[in-house]
């Protein structure tokens, strides 16, 4: 019979995506230098402006490193990262020209992950740009989207085919000087996704990228840029997994979103990077900078994230509300189990008049997990009648985990209205017993409570992904109760 501590022995279920794919890859030796930056740029046959930008970033990063400017303020703990021990480039050899040339083993892996890359996705209406280690291996639906003037391709391809757009928007939301990890990314990023939706076009399908880190000791530094022109709309989803490895791997990505007048971007993430084993060994350091700019009037940017993976998550998808009447939203579920740590939240920077923002954050801690919400709401002097609503809820499973909330509020215009609600609840033995007495097992009870807890966020996800997110949460919590 279950004893007093129902919550010990968390997550005996192994990580499901921990397989390694045997594919010929081209990698550079570990280490970071100007030569490596030049090599990455040369491999990608980049125009001069890209190389210049990378080198500027690299030189800036050296000053940051010398100043020991790696951010230390987050509520996370890890040993020093040896940046010279990381490989900064890894790519499958023989880059395919089309999907039919893609290595069958790679396609089989995507099957295993459930990435719809072939006919299935036509039915599902999902266009996928799959990023494997550092280069994009195939983009579906490109032609169909192209008919509408939508560009959806690998970042490296966009550099070749649409250099003017890249030049105009790259670094316009997250400059290469932004922060230590964003600077590192700017110097060495190898690929990512690019999306451009022209004026007045409503993208008819969910666009999706699936990221995966395969090669050992490889940091994945992808960079995503989405530009929504006047009056356009796009919904974008990224999903992430990585194989099981004992050493930690760094993932320092940058995502930039630009929404012009009356445009809307909806960006959803399901992050399931390898979280490390149940003793806290291995796992991904997910240090990511995501920011959107509502550049035009009446524009809207909405971030939805379900973070269940990574040993450490450090990310704050933010919105700069520059255009008048623009709207920023952040909906987040972050789960930390075993020894996972998450310090995540958002920044809503109100610059324009009548700007509105909503923050709904749900943190779930189990095992020895530590979950921190950190968020800034800033209302600048010209942001008359700005409004913000924030809600931060924490749910604790067991008595060895932690939940923390750090809301920062900075108001410089007296017409602003802010609301902040927060709650912390704990699933108690008595609640579990009550459910069991009704025939519901502890595991089902936890999953009922957790999905109820996350409902406000899940309903913001595209339908099919909401189901996936719910399942993922169930798997991540399996074994969290005795």
């Amino acid at each position: 019979m279950a004893k007093a501590n129902e919550f010990q022995d968390l997550a005996d279920r192994e990580y499901q995506y921990g397989f390694v794919t045997q594919i010929d890859t081209e990698t550079v030796p570990p280490g970071l230098s100007e030569d490596v930056v030049r090599l990455i740029s040369a491999r990608k046959n980049e125009p001069q402006f890209m190389l210049d930008w990378r080198l500027q970033a690299y030189r800036h990063w050296l000053t940051l490193e010398a100043a020991q400017a790696e951010p230390k303020w987050a509520n996370i703990h890890y040993g020093p990262i040896d940046y010279q021990a990381i490989r900064y480039y890894s790519a499958p050899k023989n880059r395919p020209k089309s999907l039919s040339e893609v290595d069958p083993e790679l396609l089989a892996m995507y099957e295993k992950l459930g990435v719809p890359l072939k006919e299935r996705e036509i039915l599902a209406g999902v266009a996928v740009d799959a990023v494997f280690d550092s280069v994009s291996v195939g983009t579906t639906f490109k032609e169909k989207l192209a008919e509408m003037g939508i560009i959806f391709c690998a970042f490296s391809e966009a550099v070749q085919d649409h250099p003017d757009l890249i030049r105009k928007y790259l670094g316009s939301v997250v400059p290469y000087t932004d922060n230590f990890f964003a600077t590192l990314n700017a110097a060495v990023f190898s690929d990512g996704s690019f999306c451009y939706v022209p004026k007045g076009v409503r993208c008819p399908m969910e666009l999706s990228t699936y990221f995966r880190i395969n090669a050992a000791e490889t940091g994945q530094f992808e960079r995503t840029l989405i530009v929504a022109e006047e009056g356009s709309y796009v919904s974008y989803l990224e999903g992430c997994t990585a194989p099981m490895r004992d050493e930690n791997q760094l993932h320092a990505a940058v995502v930039e979103l630009v929404a012009l007048e009356n445009a809307e971007i909806k960006y959803s993430t399901i992050q399931n990077w390898y979280p490390g084993d149940k003793n806290g060994r291995g796992g991904i350091y997910n240090f990511v900078t995501k920011r959107g700019k509502c550049a035009g009037r009446n524009s809207k940017i909405s971030w939805t994230q379900v973070e269940t993976g990574s040993s450490i998550t450090w990310k704050y998808p933010s919105v700069i509300l520059q255009g008048d009447n623009s709207i920023g939203e952040f909906y987040s579920v972050a789960l930390t189990n075993n020894y996972q740590q998450a310090d995540t939240g958002t920044k809503m920077i109100h610059i324009g008049k009548n700007t509105r923002s909503t923050i709904i954050s749900k943190g779930i801690s189990a095992g020895h997990g530590n979950n921190t919400y950190r968020g800034l709401v800033q209302i600048q002097p010209n942001a008359a009648n700005a409004r913000n609503y924030s809600q931060c809820d924490s749910l604790l499973l067991g008595d060895k985990c932690g939940a923390h909330t750090f809301p920062y509020i900075d108001v410089r215009n007296h017409t602003g209205v802010l609301e902040h609600e927060a709650s912390t609840s704990k699933i108690s033995e008595d609640q579990l017993f009550y459910c069991k007495q009704r025939g519901i097992s502890a595991e089902s009870a936890v999953s009922l409570i957790v999905s109820g807890f996350c409902k406000d966020v899940f309903k913001k996800l595209p339908m099919e992904f909401a189901v996936e997110a719910q399942k993922l949460l169930g798997v991540s919590l399996e074994g969290s109760v005795g």
Partner: protein, 251 residues
């Protein structure tokens, strides 16, 4: 249906039950009465399998099977139900959703097909009418912000939907005003069948005015010190528990 033999139970190292013997047949309603601290609720909790209660000695057979070996959820699926004295709030879970999950767990266990939301909804409608509960409570979070009376009525609703063979009602009368008491009792009476049994745990006699027990037992210091018919409850009402105390001491 239920056979308790020489049951000794401790909680946090303190012995509460000291040799309970009780046999309950299908179709019977038994009432356990007794002063505060006599062990009434402990008996209710241990039958349901609460992990904080440690069985030191004794056996409990339920339909010929060893009840004490079953996990709480198996007991529930096998038809043992406890209406809690203090129903807990379950955050974020809708009452309707909870009831449906519980019913389907029990149905699965009994080899029946699970009910979908539509079927369950019409099944539930009848039960809600039977216990005269406010329909609106179905779409609220389970027990969150429910009044004391609403919680108790909701417990009886759960009993109605789960159709247990053996139900323990732990102080279901506490916190109910007289009108609510009458209507809850009426619902319980409708749930009585020749095939199920009910154990009422209560401090006061007043519940027994509306649910007539076949047997009344008085619990004192962890033992049943007196058993009788429904008239024993009236005696207790008239004379209090002191004479029981005296009798027990002289035993």
């Amino acid at each position: 249906m239920l056979e308790i033999r020489n049951l000794h139970v401790a909680v946090e190292g303190k012995k509460i039950l000291a040799g309970i013997n009780l046999t309950i047949q299908a179709g019977e309603v038994h009432a356990i009465m007794g002063p505060n601290g006599s062990g009434k609720s402990t008996l209710a909790q241990v039958l349901a399998g609460h992990p904080s209660y440690e069985v030191l000695e004794g056996t409990v057979l339920y339909e010929g099977k060893n009840l004490l070996e079953m996990s709480p959820e198996i007991r529930a699926r096998e038809g043992v139900f406890l209406a809690f004295q203090y129903p807990v709030e379950i955050p974020g879970v809708m009452n309707f959703q909870f009831l449906k999950a519980a019913v389907n767990e029990v149905r699965k266990h009994r080899g029946l097909e699970e009910m979908d939301a539509m079927d369950f909804s019409s099944f539930l409608d009848e039960k809600v009418k039977l216990v005269e509960m406010d329909q609106g409570l179905l779409n609220r979070r389970l027990n969150e912000g429910f009044s004391g009376g609403e919680k108790k009525r909701n417990e009886i609703l759960q009993m109605a939907v789960l159709e247990p063979k053996f139900a323990v009602l732990d102080e279901t009368d506490s916190g109910l005003d007289i009108d609510a008491l009458q209507s809850v009792a009426a619902a319980v009476n409708q749930l009585r069948t020749p095939n199920n049994a009910i154990l009422l745990v209560t401090h006061y006699q007043r519940l027994l005015n509306y649910i007539t027990p076949d047997f009344v037992h008085v619990l004192f210091n962890g033992r049943i010190v007196k058993s009788g018919g429904k008239e024993l409850a009236l005696d207790l009402e008239a004379r209090g528990y002191d004479w029981i105390r005296e009798e027990a001491v002289s035993l």
